[in-house]
Symmetry: C2
Subunit: 391 residues, 2 copies
């Protein structure tokens, strides 16, 4: 195991009706003038936004608001949020929504206390300070409610880039599984896929003998495999929603990823797809993961075989472990299709002729010099082959 540090100081309030405590938590964690940041109409229509506002008023705090966050959140709205927060002397950002809203809130939080362009932090500059952020989560997916990560898309050129720091870990996150019951099945499934991707990206490691985190990841994947189809079948199944919601947080707060190298190539390859085609991140991952895994499994056949046996219940072929490894990847693919995710490039709007452009953005964007690295280093040719495998 490699040396590591781990710090997850987010306070979690989990369960029914917990959104009504939002104001108390903002107060507890030092906020007095809040920017409430949210996305489209669903948090308005459902009455959630009103309940959160009432809770903030009840706590004796004031607020301004900014809606309009879209999936794959854009830099334009972040600039708008920063200007608003500066003008109104906001001292706390409260995200009411899913990963996109939270990531946008984190960007506003760091940009408000910075004189330069916030995009600097998404171009490699370390974050030095940020306003405190809290969240009321409405989608189990990104894990941003318990992580120090944020991903934003710059409109000019549609670059999707990420940043991270303990400074932007939420002070508190409110997780009410009932709020996820109204999600359309496709969004629910995309969230499930994103959670499973966060687990796979950590499982694919070159660090030896990390049994404790292997076992935790396997346990969380087994939970997703059990609970995923249950919520697709019955969107109102609170217990299944609750299990998925906690698994989604645990999958990405990195307690199951410490002390080991991680992959993240599937995420990088997918980011170019959702940046260009504006598909749901989870849907892009559903198409990306099986292709990546089939391309790289020979790098460590036994790791893929272990995943296949322990997580997918495949029988170990002791004479031909690669048979087991591939059976596991096939099981993942079948599972994702079964919960309603796309299985091909075309289904997410992909076009074969775009592949050179995707590869270029992937392998030369963000300061890269012709390859991406993770479980395996992939050069332009590798990446082009992987995109072609998705067709």
């Amino acid at each position: 195991m490699e040396n590591f540090t781990f710090y997850s100081p987010t306070f979690f309030a989990f369960g029914k009706d917990t959104e009504n405590e939002a104001g108390d938590y903002v107060k507890r964690f030092g906020g007095s003038k809040v920017l409430i940041h949210y996305g489209g109409g669903s948090v308005v229509r459902s009455g959630l936004l009103d309940r959160v506002k009432a809770s903030i008023e009840k706590a004796g705090l004031s607020y301004v608001e900014l809606g309009g966050v879209k999936p794959n959140p854009r830099s334009g709205l972040v600039y708008e949020g920063i200007a608003l927060a500066k003008k109104e002397n906001v001292d706390f950002v409260l995200a009411v929504g899913g990963g996109s809203v939270i990531d946008s809130s984190k960007a506003i939080a760091m940009g408000t206390l910075y004189d330069g362009d916030f995009w600097d932090f998404y171009s490699g500059k370390p974050i030095e300070r940020a306003l405190p952020v809290g969240t009321v989560l409405t989608i189990a997916a990104a894990g941003s409610e318990g992580s120090g990560d944020s991903v934003i898309t710059k409109e000019e050129g549609m670059f999707k880039r990420g940043t991270g720091s303990d400074l932007i870990r939420p002070k508190f996150s409110i997780l009410n599984p009932a709020l996820t019951q109204t999600l359309p099945p496709y969004q629910t499934a995309a969230g499930i896929t994103d959670i499973m991707a966060h687990l796979h990206e950590r499982y694919l490691t070159n660090t030896k003998e990390v049994e404790v985190t292997d076992r935790m990841i396997e346990g969380l994947l087994l939970t997703m495999i059990h609970e995923g189809p249950r919520v697709i079948e019955d969107p109102n199944n609170y217990e299944a929603r609750a299990n998925i919601m906690w698994a989604g947080m645990m999958a990405h707060n990195n307690s199951c990823g410490v002390g080991r190298s991680q992959d993240w190539n599937s995420h990088e390859i997918e980011h170019e797809l959702s940046a260009l085609y504006d598909c749901a991140h989870g849907a892009g991952l559903a198409v990306t993961m099986p292709a990546v895994f089939r391309y790289v499994y020979q790098h460590d056949v036994m790791r893929f075989a272990k995943l296949a046996v322990r997580v997918w219940g495949c029988q170990m072929d002791y004479d031909h472990p690669e048979v087991t490894a591939l059976a596991g990847i096939r099981s993942l693919e079948i599972f994702l299709k079964d919960i309603g995710m796309p299985g091909s490039f075309a289904e997410i709007g992909g076009k074969e002729e775009d592949i050179p452009k995707l590869v270029e953005a992937l392998c030369y964007g963000n300061g890269r010099t012709g390859s991406i690295s993770g479980f395996v280093t992939l050069n332009e040719e590798d990446c082009a082959k992987i995109y072609r495998m998705m067709i």
Copy 2:
């Protein structure tokens, strides 16, 4: 799943040589005058204490020290520590040792900022404030490095009582697996048993459909079953030590126990044994757990069968699930004996004639009125039977 809150703001620094960063972390978390609290001679002989002191001096901080913590830490030394901390205007308590040293440090931390008798907090009074605590862990066992719990034994009457609050969660914990390599095998095995007990106490729940935490507990137990015998066979196996050390923290920071009722009857029953006979807590648990589990398994046969199948690899007897349930308990018992733990009352110094006294202290101590409650409520007769099953 039940509503819950979860807050684990401890900063973890994990890996080789991390004890040399102790001074930096004390400073980062607000300390300037440190009470270094430790146990017997091993931290002195090994040079660990000197390394920690050097690190504190290097950070420009000052310290006083108090050694002498014994397993099952006593109130007498806590009073001594509180007097010293008050006299020297200490603003940070640094525990260098295992669970006993950490629990004693937490007691000193809360007692120093309190005018009354610190024992009040172990008699039901809520903790209102405490000095910050940091730890340099030398034994993977109690999980106190990541928990808000503390257990102290009062010399008068040898009462062993616990308390808990987020206020006494360590600000930071330094976990260097190499520091555990010099532990005698018996202590290593007792630590393994304690960790496995923390997992069992959470697994035995009456809350339905908590798959995510079931799976996390199972994963951590599987890790212990894999790594435990490896460190008993080779005490210098750093990787196995590292896996156990992280599993020990995860087993008790409660991320795998949220949203569900828990048991803790085995701990309560054992606490009377280690209070009276001063045996190692883990050794007492090795004798206690199989007896308790055999006594209560019929309360939820399928839960014990699930544990047997998923963790111990037993075959499910679909016609007679109780056969599988009992096979799992038997597997635990065999495992504990195999790593060198005692299997009977006599081996931990127990005497049959003490049973009425044990039952009296258990069922009427700490404000109880004739029973203990957890997975199952156990009255005096039940507890007497369980103690007799250990003979």
